[in-house]
Symmetry: C2
Subunit: 227 residues, 2 copies
DNA sequence: GAGACTGCTGCCAGAATCTGGCAGTGGCAT
DNA sequence: ATGCCACTGCCAGATTCTGGCAGCAGTCTC
C-alpha cells in the first residue's frame, strides 16, 4: 500500500472514532509502527487536516472531508465555482461564509494563472434580495446533521401563531424563501415551515427517535404520490 | 521535491503547452530522466488526468484542473454540494451536466459512509421553472473562454429585432433569466442581452481584440459609477 | 520505403526515501 | 508519584524511486 493511500485510510479510521484515540492503537489498526504513525499525523496536519493530539489523551479529528487529488474539466470547475458563488450570496450567512472559504481553499492551491482565471471567472450570480430570515439557519442545519429536535414559534399563512416541536430532516432553498422540512410532533405528520415565519428558534438536546435518511425517504414518497 | 509535488508541476507545465510536447523536453524542463517522466505520466493518468500521448507527436493535456489533496469542513462540503445541485438544475444543460459530473467525481472518491451522507444530503434546491432559453448557453460560455465573437439576432424589450456581433465576457445568472454581458460592436458600448431574447446564435471563429479580464474590469467600473 | 522521432515497457543497479526501534523530553490525569 | 501519552532526534535496514539501457510499435518527413 502506498503512503498516500495509507494517509487516507488514517483519516477514515480517525473519522470512525469520536473519542480521542491513542497513537498506539491507531498504529496497530493500520499495521504500522508508532513512529511512522507520528510521521503520518504530522504529514496530514501539514496538508491541512484538523487533527489534534493531546498528551495523555490521544488524537481527535475535527469533522471534515478529505479529498484525494482530483481532476476536473473546465466546465466542472466552472459549475462548482458558480454554485459556490450562489451559495455565498444566500442569506444563510454561515453557509455563505463556508462557500467563500471553500472557494478560497481551492484558489489557494492553484497556480497563479489558474487562480486569476478563477477570480476573474465570468459566471456571475445576480445579487439576492437582502432579506434575512431573522433566524440562524446554521442552527437548523446542525440540528438536521445531529438528528435533534427543534422547537420554535410558527406563524402560518393566516397569521395564527403556534409553538412547535419538530424533527427536521431537510432544508429547501427556493428563489425567495428557505423551507424547513420536518416531522411535526403536534400534527403527527410531515410539515414544511418557511424560515421567514419562524421565530424563537430553539435547538434542543433531544435526539429524535428516527433516522434522518428514513424520514427523508418517506417524505419523498408522500411527494411522489400527491393526494 | 517530493514526488507528489513533481506530479502537480508536470500538470502545470503540460497546461502551458497547447501543442503536443515530447517527453524528452518535458523531462528536461523538470530535471528528471525520460524514464521517470513516463512513469509520472502513467501515474497521473491513473489518477484520472486526461493526458494523451501519441507516438511521433508528444503529449497533450485536455484542458482541466488538477486539485491536490484538500480538506474541507462539513459546512464547506455542504456549501459545495448545495451549490452544485443548484447549478445542476439550471437550464444550461451542459453546465448542469458538468455539475452532476463533478458531484459524481467527488462522491466516487469518498468512503462508503460519507458517500451515503452526501447522497442523502439534506440541503435541497427548489425545482426551477422549466423555461429553456432556446439557445445553447454552452456556446456562449465557450466563446467567453476563448475570447471569440458571437453573432445573433436580438429582440429588445420593445420587440424590435436587430442583428448583433458582440464580444462576450461574462454570463450572469439571475432568478429567472440568464444575461450575457458583452461589448456590442453596433452600439460601441457595453450591453446586456437576456438569453431568452437571443435567437440565431452563431459562434464565430474570430477572436476579439481585447482581453476578457480587461473588458470585465472596465464593465465593472461602469457599474460602480452609474450615470 | 528509409530514416528520424516519439510513446511505451521490462529490467536492473544505485540513489533516495521510508520505516521501525530506541532514547529522551514534557504534558496530562489519577 | 506514577502511568499514559504526544512528540522529536537518531540511525540502520527495508522499501521505493530513479536513471540508463535495450527493444517494440506507431507517426511523420523525405
Amino acid at each position: 500500500m502506498s503512503r498516500a493511500e495509507r494517509l487516507l485510510d488514517l483519516i477514515q479510521i480517525l473519522r470512525r472514532h469520536r473519542r480521542p484515540v491513542s497513537g498506539r492503537s491507531l498504529a496497530g489498526e493500520m499495521g504500522v509502527s508508532i513512529r511512522t504513525l507520528y510521521r503520518d499525523i504530522a504529514t496530514l496536519q501539514g496538508q491541512g487536516a484538523p487533527i489534534e493530539g493531546e498528551a495523555g489523551l490521544g488524537y481527535v479529528l475535527r469533522p471534515g472531508f478529505m479529498l484525494p487529488p482530483l481532476m476536473f474539466t473546465d466546465e466542472e470547475i466552472e459549475a462548482i465555482v458558480l454554485g459556490s458563488r450562489w451559495v455565498a450570496k444566500q442569506p444563510d450567512w454561515r453557509l455563505a461564509n463556508a462557500a467563500t472559504d471553500a472557494l478560497a481553499k481551492i484558489a489557494a492551491v492553484l497556480p497563479d494563472d489558474l487562480r486569476e482565471e478563477l477570480d476573474a471567472s465570468t459566471l456571475l450570480v445576480g445579487s439576492r434580495t437582502e432579506v434575512t430570515e431573522g433566524i440562524d439557519l446554521g442552527v437548523v442545519r446542525q440540528a438536521i446533521r445531529e438528528e435533534r429536535k427543534l422547537s420554535f414559534v410558527y406563524r402560518d399563512a393566516g397569521g395564527a401563531a403556534s409553538e412547535r416541536t419538530v424533527w427536521p430532516f431537510a432544508l429547501g432553498f427556493f428563489d425567495k424563501v428557505r423551507v424547513v422540512a420536518a416531522w411535526c410532533e403536534m400534527r403527527q405528520d410531515f410539515r414544511h415551515f418557511r424560515a421567514d415565519r419562524i421565530s424563537g428558534l430553539n435547538a434542543t438536546e433531544m435526539r429524535y427517535p428516527r433516522r434522518r435518511q428514513v424520514l427523508l425517504k418517506e417524505w419523498r414518497a408522500t411527494l411522489d404520490t400527491p393526494t
